[in-house]
């Protein structure tokens, strides 16, 4: 039995735990405002709002319902477009009407949900951040300019809230139905089911990979959800290292104050990872075990020499270096019944710099052609320590050991980079595929490799020399 609140209604259902929430909403509840367009989390037409208890309030975020198994909304408040409609249009709906931000209308409910969620969550967002709330919503008709004009209106209205409580303020202005104010108490009355990890269960994070790859087979599987705060969640600093629980979502990583202090550029890097909805769902552990050769988080943490804490439900524990976890294409060092509990890395000491680069066909919400991360320590203009990683250039995400050790002790100038690139090109083995040709991936990694140094130590790179080298190497 799965129990949650859908709009204003308490739902208790025996539907399969792996049933996509989208199908439950449309087929079982007959709520047709949520649309089916891609079923792989790439368009946002099925976006829903999901709220969960967070102290004395309810925190809302967006998810794509096509990839959300029903079990993942246990004890939550699920809101579809029907649950947002009141006697009059909300400021979000009105702005979209006023600015003709809707043409065929098929994507529109998804946009409304994303912008309403943004309005409910963060009063201090600037215009760019408000726009970013629809980074996972695709519109084929408008070309987005009318939507941008609408978002500007919405942002301006949201500014008027100042520090007032969002739901209260929105209800008072008739932007939100009144029932939202009772949701906190009603959620508190739902009893959480037992959440211990059992051996027989498929451990499911956000579903963003599994639900794309194996939707039919996991529909009826015994599912272990990680979506409750006490299971595999949390970001901790212990002495000189940082521990990230496997169930942490990308959004949790992105907004973590701890990680922001370690990686000042984390928001810029992670903005290139998928979309708001998918970041709200996808987990660190899921990205690690999915073992994509182009996995963004894997490449990110490979440069940090991260270690994985692996558990089995019967109490066994072991630790493995992330770089040793990948054995071959989609083959990982994980035995039947084992699961990744956490990832940890030593916090880079003072003087260390970090950079992450990613290039894909579309800059946002796309899978990389090549990605790369670097951890660099310069002392007296010499490379004291360096760790370079890259994805999309081999069967597994790669820690580039040879290139890294070659650079040790050298000046980060154009000549060293040029020599290092020859080693780099020997170390990788990209293939032609839908993300690009071998030739392109080799060239692109060279470029990203240089980009790391331009980002981190631009004064060491002489532009005239670089121009020369870009031609020669």
């Amino acid at each position: 039995m799965i129990e949650f609140i859908l709009n204003d209604v308490l739902i208790k259902t025996n539907s399969p735990p792996g049933l996509p929430l989208l199908d439950f909403i449309r087929q079982e509840m007959g709520l047709m405002g949520t649309k089916i367009a891609c079923r792989e989390g790439d368009c946002g037409a099925c976006t829903l709002m999901v709220g969960e208890l967070d102290g004395d309030k309810v925190s809302y975020k967006t998810i794509v319902s096509c990839l959300t198994p029903l079990v993942n909304v246990q004890s939550k408040h699920v809101v579809s477009i029907e649950g947002l409609n009141g006697d009059q249009l909300s400021h979000v709906q009105q702005a979209i009407v006023d600015h003709s931000g809707t043409q065929c209308g098929f994507c529109t409910p998804g946009f409304v949900i994303s912008l309403m969620t943004k309005s409910l969550s963060d009063a201090n967002s600037n215009l760019d951040e408000t726009l970013a709330s629809v980074d996972g919503n695709i519109c084929r008709c408008t070309g987005y300019k009318s939507i941008e004009r609408a978002v500007k209106d919405i942002w301006e209205v949201n500014q008027r809230r100042k520090d007032k409580d969002a739901p209260q303020w929105m209800v008072k202005n008739k932007y939100l139905p009144e029932y939202f104010l009772s949701i906190h108490d009603r959620l508190s009355n739902i009893i959480l089911p037992d959440e211990r990890i059992k051996k027989s269960n498929v451990i499911l994070g956000g579903g963003t990979d599994l639900m794309v790859q194996k939707a039919d087979s996991i529909m009826h599987a015994g599912l272990q959800t990680l979506r409750e705060k006490d299971i595999l969640h949390g970001i901790m600093i212990e002495d000189d290292h940082c521990i990230l629980q496997a169930g942490a979502t990308v959004t949790e990583l992105l907004t973590s104050l701890e990680l922001r202090s370690i990686f000042p550029g984390i928001q810029k890097y992670f903005k290139l990872l998928s979309s708001t909805q998918i970041r709200n769902m996808g987990t660190l552990g899921g990205n690690i075990v999915n073992a994509s050769p182009i996995g963004d988080l894997i490449v990110f943490f490979l440069a940090l020499d991260a270690k994985l804490q692996i558990n089995s439900p019967d109490g066994g524990r072991r630790s493995v270096a992330l770089k040793d976890f990948y054995l071959d294409y989609k083959k990982i060092d994980l035995k039947q019944g084992e699961y990744v509990e956490a990832l940890s890395f030593n916090i880079p000491l003072h003087g260390y710099q970090f950079n992450f680069e990613k290039v894909s066909k579309r800059e946002h919400l796309d899978i990389a052609s090549v990605n790369s991360a670097i951890l660099l320590h310069l002392q007296d203009n010499l490379i004291k320590d360096v760790r370079l990683s890259a994805g999309g250039v081999g069967p597994i995400p790669m820690f580039l050991e040879k290139t890294s050790s070659f650079l040790q002790g050298r000046r980060p100038d154009v000549e060293s980079l040029s020599e290092a690139n020859s080693i780099l090109q020997d170390e990788i083995s990209p293939i032609d595929d839908i993300r690009g040709s071998e030739e392109y991936k080799r060239l692109l990694l060279r470029q990203l490799f240089i980009a790391h140094f331009i980002e981190l130590c631009p004064d060491q790179i002489r532009m005239d020399q670089l121009q020369e080298i870009l031609i020669q190497i």
Binding site: G30, M32, G33, T34, K35, I36, A37, C38, E40, D42, A45, I81, N85, L89, Q93, V97, S100, T102, Q103, C104, G105, F106, C107, P109, V112, L131, D135, N137, I138, C139, R140, C141, T142, G143, Y144, K145, S146, I147, D216, E357, K361, R362, E363, H364, L365, D366, I367, S369, I434, E439, Y440, L443, Q447, A451, I454, L466, Q467, I471, Q472, I473
Partner: protein, 771 residues
């Protein structure tokens, strides 16, 4: 009058600049699309089983395991078709279900009907087909060389290129290629069919062409057209993809419903939609261009090879439009163009916004670019000098009238200070080594009308109910372009009533028969004119009643904002009073308007005539910033002067410009369709085929209306808007090329679109040894 109309007019005022009449339904999620129609109890669901081989003989089809799956009702093959197994629209060369041969991957072979789509898909995985492999062709030039053409080639000729070359100081030759494009309408294809008590069929279809569906389904079932009713509320995007290609799915749903005498719904998954439906035609073309010393283009010779796929679909009409637009906005006295539709083992390609014209204009612009590069001058010098002027002749014999090519160019140059912008780009590039800017100007000239003259007709049915409310049915299909809003505006203007009185009915073949598809940017013109005729006839009738009722002697009687005005004096009589009186007087308050575009004709035997009602012109300036380290780009701005005529709804029309522009830019950049050698689609999902997200939009899109009146032949002098702005996007290609050249002067332009980040990076470092 209070309350809002059930179809949700966003405004109740008499001003015609209203918002999309559907927009309230859209933002509240109440708008009903095909898959949202409440299902009749007992409805079944259909899924197609398609060929996994691009070319072969179908030796064996084993359905037994699939039929064992609980919940599977029936699997139909071509043998179950009672009528003709044929869905070809122009040429009868495409079966609904493959018989003994398959010609492309994704060609439907059987249809599985089950209690749910989920069950049908499970069963599909158990169907086993055995094939004998035949040679596969995916390359149009290879098909051409082997004589594999879908239909005979077409040749357009004007002047004499042979003597033309002699006048030329410069002659350049080259090749240009454009890729395909997925429509990626957010709503996939689908249909829902059910029989009525006498065995007639009603079909809800996500189609741009209800009559085409009716005609095709009747043919498949072997019944008369009047036994098939097709109804369309709205589409979640069409872009041409639901013009001819909606028929297969309506055909399969209709066949299933007829055979089983049950309601059957068929909605394609995105994956099925992507590999089973056609796309924009890729073209590969050879060009030869000749200019005088003064840069006047004297002669143009082209061979255009269209990749048609495995069946003709709309390719003949698309190929024809390609030939009409080979000179884009330019006057060229000597033209010789040959066009070939090549038969390949790919899904049949189809209509897509622009309908062959973008492919033609890309070749023209590539030829100009090639000449400019060779002559070391700016392309705009050639462009500007050759823009077509009043009374000059298009190569197909039509005289250019209201030729706004030069006015829009001049307006853009002045309004947007383009010379200053170009100087700023130059300066920026001098000061930056790893970031470069580039620009391009893109003039567009697009002919409006179906090039097949008989299709330029429409009808509209108007009822005024006795309470004064109005119901309108036309043949136009609403797919986001706002045609229903424009229809409402037409009626509201003519009657001078509150638009909230007016309801747009669904597009339905029993109310409006023999419709042309909503396509060719002509939906508002054709249906609007038919509606105008109906409304004006009704208006004459009710004004006759008014005259009898209140003002027998007045000179001038009219309705203004729902009041009867006699000789300029407002009377106390309202629209409602008038209609009530007219009804009691037994006046006919219904009217069926008909419209056929005058003047147009085209003689295919000489390839000359006057095929277009009018032309739409415009000029775009497009500016890009290129990260030359990473090969990524950002469009800083697109500044457009567009020839709207007297736009009847600028808000809607601007939305069409912005949306079409974005699709055009994406066709030139990120949208890359890839097939492997065996004919298998590799870009088969939204994770491998990228359409623009919000960050892909240009930072600024500035759209200014050219201040020229539209022609009377356009609805309310408001020119057609759907397709022309798509072609502004072509400028994106040349802007990127311009930026690349600032970084790598050795780059040899190859005029192969799209310019993906991969192609850009390789171009930036072209002619340099491998890394």
């Amino acid at each position: 009058m209070s309350g809002s109309n059930q179809d949700g007019s966003a405004t109740g005022n008499f001003d015609s600049n209203m918002r999309n009449t559907d927009s309230i339904g859209h933002v509240t999620g109440k708008s009903v699309f095909l898959d949202d129609i409440p299902e009749i109890k007992g409805s079944l669901h259909a899924v197609a089983f398609a060929s996994s081989l691009a070319h072969g003989k179908l030796r064996k089809l084993n359905l037994s395991a699939a039929l064992q799956v609980p919940g599977v009702i029936r699997i139909l093959t071509y043998e179950d078709i009672p009528g003709e197994n044929q869905v070809g629209g122009i040429i009868l060369d495409e079966p609904l279900l493959a018989e003994t041969e398959v010609h492309y991957i994704g060609q439907p072979i059987a249809v599985i009907i089950a209690e749910s789509a989920h069950i049908a898909r499970q069963a599909r995985a158990l169907i086993h087909a055995e094939y004998e492999l035949l040679p596969v062709i995916t390359d149009p030039r290879e098909a051409y060389e082997k004589g594999e053409l879908l239909f005979p080639p077409r040749f357009f000729e004007s002047g004499d290129v042979v003597s033309g070359w002699e006048e030329c100081e410069y002659i350049f030759e080259g090749r240009a290629e454009t890729g395909g494009q997925e429509h990626l309408y957010l709503e996939t294809q689908g249909a829902y069919a059910y029989p009525d008590e006498t065995g007639n069929l009603k079909i809800h279809s996500a189609t741009q062409g209800p009559t085409l569906i009716q005609k095709t389904v009747a043919r498949i079932l072997g019944v008369a057209m009047n036994r098939v009713e097709v109804d369309v509320r709205r589409l979640g995007g069409g872009f041409g993809g639901k013009e001819d290609q909606a028929t297969v799915w309506a055909g399969l749903a209709g066949l299933s419903a007829q055979v089983l005498q049950k309601p059957v719904k068929m909605v394609l998954s995105r994956e099925d939609d992507m590999y089973m439906t056609g796309k924009r035609h890729p073209y590969t073309s050879d060009f030869k261009i000749g200019l005088t010393k003064e840069l006047k283009i004297i002669a143009l010779e082209l061979s255009l090879f269209q990749n048609g796929g495995a069946a003709s679909d709309l390719s003949p009409a698309i190929l024809e439009r390609t030939l009409f637009h080979v000179t884009n906005s330019y006057f060229i006295p000597n033209v010789k163009a040959a066009a070939y539709s090549c038969k390949t083992n790919l899904v049949p390609n189809t209509a897509f916004r622009g309908f062959g014209a973008p492919q033609a204009m890309f070749v023209m612009e590539a030829a100009i670019s090639k000449a400019a590069i060779e002559l070391k001058i700016q392309a705009r010098e050639i462009q500007e000098r050759n823009l077509i002027r009043e009374d000059e002749l298009f190569h197909y014999g039509q005289v250019a009238t209201n030729a706004h090519a030069l006015p829009s160019w001049d307006d853009a140059m002045k309004t947007f200070h383009i010379e200053e912008r170009i100087a700023a780009i130059k300066k920026f590039n001098q000061n930056n080594s790893l970031i470069k800017k580039g620009m391009a100007l893109m003039p567009v000239c697009f002919g409006v009308s179906f090039t097949k003259t008989p299709m330029n007709q429409a009808r509209a049915l108007v009822h005024i109910y006795q309470d004064g409310s109005i119901g309108i049915s036309t043949g136009a299909v609403e797919m986001g372009q706002g045609v229903n809003t424009k229809m409402k505006q037409v009626a509201a203007r003519i009657f001078s009533v509150d638009p909230r009185r007016i309801k747009l009915e669904t597009t339905n073949t029993t109310r409006v028969a023999n419709t042309s598809p909503t396509a060719a940017s002509s939906g508002a013109d054709l249906n609007g004119k038919a509606l105008q005729n109906a409304c004006e006839a009704l208006l004459r009738r009710v004004l006759g009643v008014a005259r009898k009722m209140i003002a027998v002697d007045c000179e001038n009687i009219e309705i203004k904002e729902e009041r009867i005005i006699t000789d300029g004096k407002t009377s106390s009589f309202t629209w409602e009073n008038l209609i009530e009186k007219a009804f009691l007087d037994r006046v006919n308050l219904s009217e069926n308007g008909h419209y056929a575009t005058p003047f147009i004709h085209f003689d295919k035997s000489i390839e000359k005539g006057h095929p277009f009602a009018y032309h739409v012109f415009g000029t775009a300036f497009i500016e890009v910033t290129l990260d030359c380290l990473r090969g990524q780009y950002n469009f800083d701005g697109v500044h457009i002067v567009h020839d709207f005529g007297n736009s009847m709804n600028f808000e809607l029309d601007r939305g069409q410009v912005e949306g079409a522009l974005m699709q055009g830019i994406a066709w030139m950049t990120m949208e890359e369709i890839s097939f492997d050698k065996t004919g298998k689609l590799l870009s088969n999902s939204l994770s491998s085929y990228k359409i623009p997200d919000i960050y892909a939009a240009p930072d600024i899109v500035d759209v200014k209306a050219l201040e020229r009146d539209g022609p009377d032949i356009a609805i309310m002098k408001s020119k057609a808007i759907g397709e022309p702005p798509f072609m502004y996007g072509i400028g994106a290609y040349f802007a990127i090329q311009d930026a690349i050249k600032s970084f790598n002067s050795d780059y040899k332009s190859d005029f192969i679109a799209p310019f993906t980040p991969e192609k850009i990076l390789l171009a930036l470092y072209q002619n340099r040894s491998r890394p």
